[in-house]
């Protein structure tokens, strides 16, 4: 389940077109298979991507696709909390589900066919120290339950100035994470002043429920019908420039103060995720500092967009309608609905 993407993003487009950033925007994308999210492309040539994936063929494909772009760097390396070699379980049927962990038998009827493979693992902090990656503005981590290892190996990178993190997570517990995956991720990030700003999740019904429906002669429910407990979360963590000043005592340690370029980048992150109210509030609060680089009134006008999250409703409804139209019951009853409409037309004409 993707986080919301504000396609309009008028402020970001203006920042890009007018060259209002003096530094590049650096995205480190761990689990980059398929490429970085398209919302980052609104940053044009300001965007520098360092993508990581343990699946070499996925990296080869990305390198080929981006051969002409000097600001795209894809590494066939798994990020983690060690500098070593480790077994990686490739799911040939669904490569996006490949993982550092062996897949378990599932209660959700997901069948796995995995191929173990040895891959190189590196701590992002080591790569930062070696100059292989620069300081990052945004970190995305989606590595099938290996997220905490990646984050633990990236504490110096995060402390060096990461403004936002998107990570996949869940509310499950395990022997490694007795307080749960989400709690572990949150504890690491809160230490760096990164707080939850948005989340999206799906629900997956258990297979026994689907079988019980089938036994009653009913169709299985889809993942869009909201049955099942929250399964996979995508969570956006961000710095909160205002709260860091107003409620400094709430933080475990004072986060590193933000410079002008960082403040603009943070507002861009808010806007790209449809958090325009926070973006406007931030521009308003730091108007004097921002005024040294950009027209504050124009920035607020561009960000004050009531449609900044409207599309989420369209997307959700559109998805439900498409799902309904593609369902077996809808297709079977289509001729009956056509007949009913024809009869209604005849009745009106009479």
């Amino acid at each position: 389940m993707d986080l919301y993407f504000n396609k309009g993003a008028k402020f970001t487009k203006w920042v890009t077109a007018a060259g209002l950033l003096q530094e590049p925007f650096v995205l480190v994308d761990v689990g980059v298979q398929g490429g970085e999210h398209r919302h980052w492309h609104l940053l044009g040539d300001h965007l520098v991507v360092h993508g990581f994936d343990a699946l070499e063929e996925a990296v080869t494909q990305l390198r080929r696709r981006n051969a002409l772009r000097s600001n795209r760097h894809y590494h066939a390396v798994a990020a983690g909390n060690v500098n070593d070699e480790r077994t990686f379980y490739v799911n040939a049927a669904n490569p996006t589900a490949s993982s550092m962990f062996r897949q378990r038998a599932s209660r959700f009827d997901v069948h796995m066919r995995e191929e173990p493979r040895q891959v190189q693992v590196r701590r992002l902090d080591t790569l930062l120290m070696q100059g292989i990656i620069p300081r990052a503005d945004f970190l995305k981590v989606d590595v099938e339950r290996f997220e905490t290892d990646v984050l633990l190996g990236a504490r110096q990178l995060i402390a060096a100035g990461v403004l936002g993190v998107e990570t996949e997570s869940n509310f499950g517990i395990s022997a490694d994470l007795p307080n749960g995956h989400f709690s572990a991720v949150s504890a690491i990030l809160v230490d760096h002043g990164l707080l939850v700003f948005d989340l999206a999740f799906n629900r997956v019904p258990r297979a026994s429920f689907q079988r019980a429906l089938a036994a009653k002669g009913l169709s299985p429910v889809s993942v869009h019908e909201g049955i099942g407990k929250p399964s996979t979360l995508n969570v956006l963590f961000c710095r909160d420039a205002i709260q860091e000043i107003d409620e400094a005592e709430s933080y475990p340690a004072p986060p590193r103060p933000l410079g002008l370029d960082q403040l603009i980048k943070l507002i861009v992150i808010y806007e790209l995720h449809g958090l325009n109210d926070i973006a406007v509030d931030t521009v308003d609060r730091f108007a004097t500092l921002l005024g040294g680089r950009l027209d504050v009134s124009r920035a607020i006008k561009l960000l004050a967009d009531p449609a900044c999250r409207d599309e989420s409703l369209d997307t959700a409804l559109g998805r439900r309608v498409r799902e309904l139209e593609q369902s077996t019951s809808w297709r079977i009853t289509a001729p009956m609905r056509a007949l009913k409409r024809a009869l209604q037309r005849i009745t009106r004409m009479a």
Partner: protein, 70 residues
């Protein structure tokens, strides 16, 4: 808004369980405007007694109240 301060009695749920004022419970609901953590801090024995589910209000905010919990 001017808050009206009022002194009220506060009891640990575990104390109420020990004195027999509340029985072992199956489900616990807590919605006390940010005071949830102190409620949970005072209910360990109650939860160990077999609570099957909990509904609570919460948020993703940070606060000096929770620093030691991290």
């Amino acid at each position: 808004m001017t808050p009206l301060a009022r002194a009220v009695p506060v009891r640990r749920l575990d104390s109420l369980l020990a004195t027999g004022m509340v029985p072992k419970c199956d489900f616990l609901k807590v919605d006390v405007e940010g005071f949830e953590k102190p409620v949970f801090d005072g209910r360990r024995k109650l939860l160990e007694g077999g609570v099957l589910g909990v509904e609570t209000e919460t948020n993703f905010g940070v606060s000096s109240l929770y620093l030691t919990a991290l």
